[in-house]
Amino acid sequence: MAAEKSSIKIITLIAADGSVFEVEPNIVKEMKTVQSYIDELDQNTVSIPLPNVFGNDLAMIIEYCKKHASEEETKEAKEEFDFEFVKRMKSDDKLRLLQAASYLNMESFLQFMAKAIAAEIENQSVEFVRDYFQIESDFTPEEEAELRKENEWAFK
């Protein structure tokens, strides 16, 4: 429908795994990496490969963009959506979406994901954070000593 007007393009996004998504221009406005590519072209349809974003993640990002680009949705409905959106993700999903947001240069989505990740590690122990992010502690004995010195108040 949108393609009938010559000024409006349909944008095809191709994810790293080859899955294809057709979206309207207002959906990709937030993706500055994509938008700048579109701006350089003057065609009714463009097809853009995104080799750093996987299909599952791209589907989620598009879902998020659709919700937030919608003028019919109330602020409360968007907040409710954000809440549920984060709730169904695992930590790995959040990491990949944060990286995707960075690659696609999506400022507000990136801040949103960073905030969601920060909320997970707020008020948590070192062990929890390591486990959650699958980080192994590999402090050298020298580093361990420095850490212990600076953390003295905590080891009293």
């Binding site: 795994d17 899955s19 590690i121 008020n123 948590q124 954070v129 390591r130 699958q134 580093e143 108040w153």
Partner: protein, 288 residues
Amino acid sequence: MKSKCESESESKSKPNWLELPIDLTKNILQRLDTIDILTSARNVCPLWWNICKDPLMWRTIRICHIYHIPLIDILCFETLYLSASDICCFEPLCRSAIDLSCGHLEDLDLELLGCDELLEYIAPRAINLHRLRLFYCLKVSNKCLIEFVTKFSLLEKLVITFNDKFPKESFEVINRCCPLLKSLDFVRPTLFYINRDHLVFAIAKAMPGLHHLTFVGIVINNAALVTILDGCSMLQSLDLQLCLCDDLSQSLEKRCLEQIKDFRFPLNHVSDFFDEDNFCDLFNVSSV
């Protein structure tokens, strides 16, 4: 075809948080409460430890919610939770964060903790401070509080909890020493409303350049409100939603709405305030 894509996607996307671009890691860590960064996040791995050594990571120091207790309980049972020894253990942490900031601190936000000695330690190490929030830091003396605030010539936003002996003359001093100050939240720590007109009048007289003004916990009458509107003619927002005004005249209400873009009405009856849901919304705390 699709299942192949999915399995490929899973194998390729095995997470490794250490490979995140540094800026993204910083973005996440900077959102944490300062206590979390000091006691947890920076001890996770050498990379995060080094990230947290960067003074620019300490432009914001925020030590809030140290009790994990709803604020309403703290308000109602103040003395129960504000024992000196509890709070003291956070002060070395605060000093440690101040040291790490190496003078880059722009945003300082302390809740409940802090004493005169701590503020005296911070003042010379925070000359670039833009925003200061001392919320319910009830151990700090008025004299020290005022001396502290007036050290920061770049200050733009100030939130302070004041006690009933707060000297009205200090607003002129603050205004002179902090010429960039545009936003003031003046919070009275109690559930019982008291008229503090002399302070309202003093602010209206001494701080004509304010753009944002919030009062909490006082009774405000028509005369005081008129003084604010006359004195602070540049106000864009005036928040009185945690104040009490039982005689707001219609003409004054109209003037407030016309003159101020974002005007939050005062409560017109004390019982409004004690509605817990309302209270929790206003204070942005969750009701338990």
